[in-house]
């Protein structure tokens, strides 16, 4: 009797211990479709899972056993990685293509750097160092997403905390949080990355908006990319947001050169069943201004400049420009850029040793603009800051650049990190020129396969709002990536070098050795007064032969 009572008490204690707070999870999905100026259509899928009243793992407790992880909607495989390495905030994006800011405007998801980009805010104070956990995180994510993120080693990792501010809150554990950031410009996103991506969704690609994630259509798009964002908001909890963004071209795929689209024509799929656990599923379509258009079906409501469709009773959405016979691309003529900032960046070089980095930033707006400027270059492209020239409207304007911080590279280990604040006068272009030298890599630092060159990561500009709103880190402008051609040795060379130098050493050694050991003999010629005997002549000849060896 007593035993049963004790057991009951124990059970009660256990259940309280195992569930300290009631946690709830919810899931929302959202698809934003924007017709673009050049007839293309941008689609942004966003899947948000929120784990309420839960905070990231305190790194100080990494040495101890972790709480059990029980999730209903939150992806367990991602949760395990986050807790194993005590990551507070994480952003991963894998993109293919070049985002055209001038005609497409700012993207719905700011992380559009070509290739891979991974950054994380990691709390200090753990038994293992931040860098070890960053390494573990990279490798775990590489395994999870089938991407070669593992190569984002210390040669690519920087900490540009002025450009990449935390997007959520950072818990106060009494230790600082550190940023780790790395670009992987040569990485490409493909089906093998998408499959693990939608396995993290509660409804995978079987129901709800995720049904539309059809790899055949998405990877045919002019631009496509996926991203994973994990952040903690103090009053909400842990949020995982998975997004997929694509720029599709309905004009290219239409028979009559029209930009009309439907979900069926864009993705070759329709939403057959809605996701049973989604608390909000909607498709939002941006309504173009001053262009007659028709929606089928009628949107359930209009929210600002968006027509909103509820997925639970909509299988397909169609949009037609019914007064337009065929689409004509206005971008072929002179056209004002849509975005406030246009950036061009080139690397010019006449030889394999030196070159110059040229960056041209144009402010398309009518007001002066301030942006941060981030440049992270691998160590083998060395910047020379004293050669920096800034020109605007034909005059040298060194005063436009302020607050520069520079972390010089360490050969074979650390990349360059250069951050500064740039002021761009209204309606003008600022030209920056920097001299660079290109290093000669070690034999083993070249990849084993034939290659096209080395991809340099993009530069990042973050406009600083001066209208009182202060920092707005969410709007970022990435420049296209660059390709640098380094001096490439002939890889059969080591063997040639060994043979050449062996021959040389042998030659020198042989001659010196022979000189030292040769026996010189005075050979007396016939007719001399004292003629030598035959034996001596014989010895002299052998000596001579020996010398030739």
């Amino acid at each position: 009797m007593i035993l049963t009572r004790v057991l009951c008490v124990l059970l009660a204690v256990w259940s309280v211990y195992a569930d300290p707070r009631i946690e709830s999870e919810h899931f929302e999905e959202d698809l934003v479709i924007r017709p673009l100026k050049d007839g293309r259509t941008s689609a942004r899928f966003s899947f948000t899972t929120t784990l309420e009243n839960k905070s990231p793992r305190n790194p100080e407790l990494l040495g101890e056993d972790d709480d059990s992880q029980h999730y209903t909607l939150f992806p367990l495989t991602l949760g395990q990685i986050l807790r194993e390495y005590a990551i507070t905030e994480l952003h991963l994006s894998l993109n293919a293509g070049k985002w055209n800011y001038d005609t497409w405007g700012m993207p719905d998801e700011p992380g559009v750097a070509t290739g891979g980009e991974l950054w994380a805010w990691i709390g200090d104070g753990a038994p293992t160092s931040v860098d070890r956990r960053w390494q573990g995180l990279r490798n775990a994510l590489a395994g999870l997403f089938c991407a070669s993120l593992g190569v984002m080693d210390e040669q690519r990792t920087t900490s540009p905390s002025r450009t990449f501010r935390p997007e959520g809150s950072l818990p106060d554990w009494g230790h600082a949080h550190h940023l780790r950031h790395a670009f992987l410009p040569s990485e490409h996103v493909c089906t093998e990355n998408l499959t693990p991506f939608y396995k993290l969704l509660p409804c995978k690609s079987f129901s709800g908006i995720a049904t539309l994630l059809n790899p055949h259509k998405l990877f045919d798009a002019d631009w496509h990319g996926m991203s994973v964002h994990v952040l903690w908001k103090e009053d909400v909890g842990i949020q995982v947001r998975l997004t997929f963004q694509a720029v599709l071209d309905p004009v290219r795929n239409s028979w009559n050169n029209k930009r009309d689209w439907s979900l069926k024509s864009l993705f070759d799929r329709q939403i057959a069943q809605s996701c049973p656990v989604s608390s909000a599923s909607q498709i939002r379509v941006s309504i173009p201004k001053d262009q007659p258009h028709l929606f089928t079906p009628q949107p359930s409501r209009v929210d600002g400049s968006y027509a909103v469709f509820d997925v639970s009773n909509t299988a397909d959405v169609e949009m037609r420009w019914h007064e337009e016979a065929s689409f004509e691309n206005p971008a072929t003529g002179k056209q004002e850029p849509v975005s406030a900032l246009s950036v061009r960046r080139t690397l010019e070089s006449v030889n394999k040793y030196r070159g110059s980095l040229k960056v041209a930033v144009t402010n398309n707006g009518g007001d002066d603009m301030q942006t941060t400027y981030l440049e992270t270059l691998p160590w083998f492209v060395q910047l020379y800051l004293h050669t920096l020239r800034i020109e605007c409207n034909g005059t040298r304007r060194g005063d436009l650049l302020r607050g520069a911080t520079f972390t010089p590279p360490i050969p074979h280990s650390r990349p360059t990190l250069y951050q500064s604040t740039l002021t761009i006068p209204a309606r003008s272009t600022v030209y920056m020129t920097l001299d660079v030298t290109k290093a000669f890599l070690r034999y083993t630092e070249h990849p084993p396969d034939a290659q096209r060159g080395w991809d340099l990561p993009p530069a990042v500009f973050v406009p600083i709002r001066t209208d009182g709103e202060g920092w707005d880190g969410v709007e970022r402008v990435y420049t296209p990536i660059l390709l640098v051609d380094l001096a490439t040795p002939d890889f059969s060379m080591p063997y040639n070098v060994i043979i050449m130098s062996s021959t040389l050493i042998t030659f020198i050694f042989g001659s010196i050795f022979n000189l030292l050991t040769r026996k010189f003999i005075v050979v007396k010629m016939e007719g001399d007064e004292k003629s030598g005997d035959g034996e001596e002549r014989e010895a002299g000849r052998t000596g001579g032969k020996g010398g030739e060896l």
Partner: protein
């Protein structure tokens, strides 16, 4: 001869100088040889081969003391002698090598022995802690001996033996609620796993903590399609044949694997079939549905298929009451996967938490024996491998791990009177030996054989050695000629 004599007078031409130059070169080469040898040879520390041999010949022997309860009124002295004789006669020689059973008429102080009692009034034999109360009055020692042997050395069937997961000090228990297709409705959108775990599983895990630590995790999936179509039975039911069960886990679509930890995982899957596949039964070899809807995948985990009642109208959140039957199935599957032996037929357990002390003790002994066997096997393999492959480096860390494994193995033998510490030591020895076996440093030079080095340096060695050898030969011939000439003169 006079010319030679002339040359000898010039210092540079003297035979002595020439010989000493030659000797100097050869001395440098000969002296450099050992240096070259040590810098290019692979570090191969000698392994304690004889100690491994000695230790693997030793046996881990568990002493087991059984005390008769003196209050029974039977002649305990006679009974104890009889029981000891019977037990030792009936234990096979292979069992007797690791089990040493002693029956004492009176309690031996200082040992936690098993106590045997008789209860004439009872129908069933019962175990409680380390006590065994036999039904009957103790007049048939043969029956008692058989029961004791069954309790002390329970035998797994071959099929069950295959299901047991390899020993690990820590397991992850992954509970997954998989809905085949929740979008069709009438599915389980969540479960009160924490409540169910604390009610039905934590007491068991608590007692199993003698052997393993557990990390528990859980997830719910709403779309977990099968990779095959279940067999259609009449009356709208579906069935899974034995062949279907082998491919039941659809690892391409069910994201059950994880990349964060190396601990072995035992999966417990609650599968809810979609409406068109309901009800889903397991079929026996004749194709008729079986009563049980749970099955084990050996060393992987357990699966329970749950068919909701047909009059269910909407989606459901599973409460601990729903989960009670499912979790008792999970618990039995956990016992099988961890190798917990069953109690012999006709023996009841009076303890609150299963498994009983008797089962735990025999499991501890079993696992220790397994660990010791696989440790010695691993150590043997390392030694065999190192002897076989001459390019395999053996560094300090490998040698240290092997030595530590041997030390721990010795400690295991010494602590055999406490099954718990024997298990701890044996597990540690196993970890050390497998760490030594998988040491990445042992593979370092395997793929760069010395032939390649010689091939690359041949262009240097061959031309250099010729001028070195030629003068030696030449001088030797000259010296012999001179000697002969001298003899001729004499």
């Amino acid at each position: 001869m006079s010319g030679d004599a002339d040359d000898e007078r010039i210092f540079l031409q003297s035979r002595k100088v020439r010989w000493s130059i030659l000797a100097a070169y050869w001395a440098v080469i000969l002296l450099a040889l050992p240096l070259w040898w040590t810098t290019t040879s692979i570090q191969r520390l000698s392994l304690p081969t004889s100690r491994v041999e000695d230790l693997s010949r030793e046996d881990l022997r568990f002493p087991v003391d059984i005390t008769l309860n003196p209050s029974t009124g039977v002649d305990v002295n006679a009974l104890s002698v009889k029981l000891r004789g019977l037990i030792n006669a009936r234990l096979g020689p292979d069992v007797r090598s690791w089990l040493n059973v002693n029956v004492h008429p009176n309690p031996v102080p200082g040992t936690d022995s098993y106590v045997l009692d008789f209860d004439a009034g009872s129908q069933d034999s019962t175990v409680k802690e380390r006590n065994l109360t036999l039904a009957g009055d103790g007049s048939s020692p043969s029956k008692a001996a058989n029961l004791l042997i069954d309790l002390l050395t329970p035998r797994h069937t071959a099929a069950n033996q295959q299901k047991i997961a390899k020993y690990s000090p820590r397991y992850r228990l992954a509970f997954s609620l998989l809905n085949e297709n929740a979008a069709l409705g009438k599915s389980a959108l969540g479960w009160d796993l924490n409540d169910a775990l604390s009610r039905y599983l934590f007491p068991t895990l608590q007692s199993l903590q003698l052997l393993h630590n557990f990390t528990i995790e859980s997830q719910v999936q709403f779309h977990a399609p099968l990779a095959f179509d279940p067999t259609h039975l009449n009356d709208s039911a579906h069935g899974l044949t034995h062949e279907d069960l082998t491919v039941f886990v659809n690892s391409a679509e069910w994201s059950l694997s994880s990349s964060a930890s190396n601990d072995p995982v035992l999966h417990f899957v609650l599968f809810v079939p979609s409406i068109p596949h309901r009800p889903l039964y397991l079929l026996d070899s004749e194709g008729t549905p079986m009563k049980s809807n749970a099955f084990i995948l050996p060393q992987w985990g357990g699966i329970v298929i749950h068919n909701f009642s047909p009059d269910m109208t909407s989606n459901l959140h599973m409460t601990p009451e729903h989960l009670e039957g499912i979790f008792s199935a999970f618990r039995l599957q956990l016992f099988t996967l961890l190798g917990v032996p069953e109690l012999p037929k006709g023996v009841l357990c009076l303890d609150d938490a299963l498994p009983s002390r008797w089962q735990m003790d025999s499991l501890l002994r079993q696992r220790s024996l397994e660990n010791v066997a696989s440790t010695t096997e691993t150590l043997h393999s390392i030694i065999k491998l190192v002897n076989q492959i001459e390019n395999m480096p053996v560094k300090e860390d490998v040698k240290g791990d092997i030595q530590n494994a041997l030390d721990t193995l010795e400690l295991t033998y010494k602590s055999s009177n406490s099954a718990k510490s024997a298990l701890e030591y044996s597990a540690r020895a196993l970890t050390l030996s497998s760490r030594a076996f998988f040491n990445p440093g042992m593979l370092a030079l395997l793929y760069f054989p010395p032939e390649h080095t010689y091939a690359i340096y041949a262009p240097l060695f061959a031309p250099v050695s010729l001028p070195l050898l030629a003068p030696v030969v030449r001088e030797f011939i000259a010296w012999r000629k001179a000697k002969r000439a001298k003899q001729k003169v004499e």
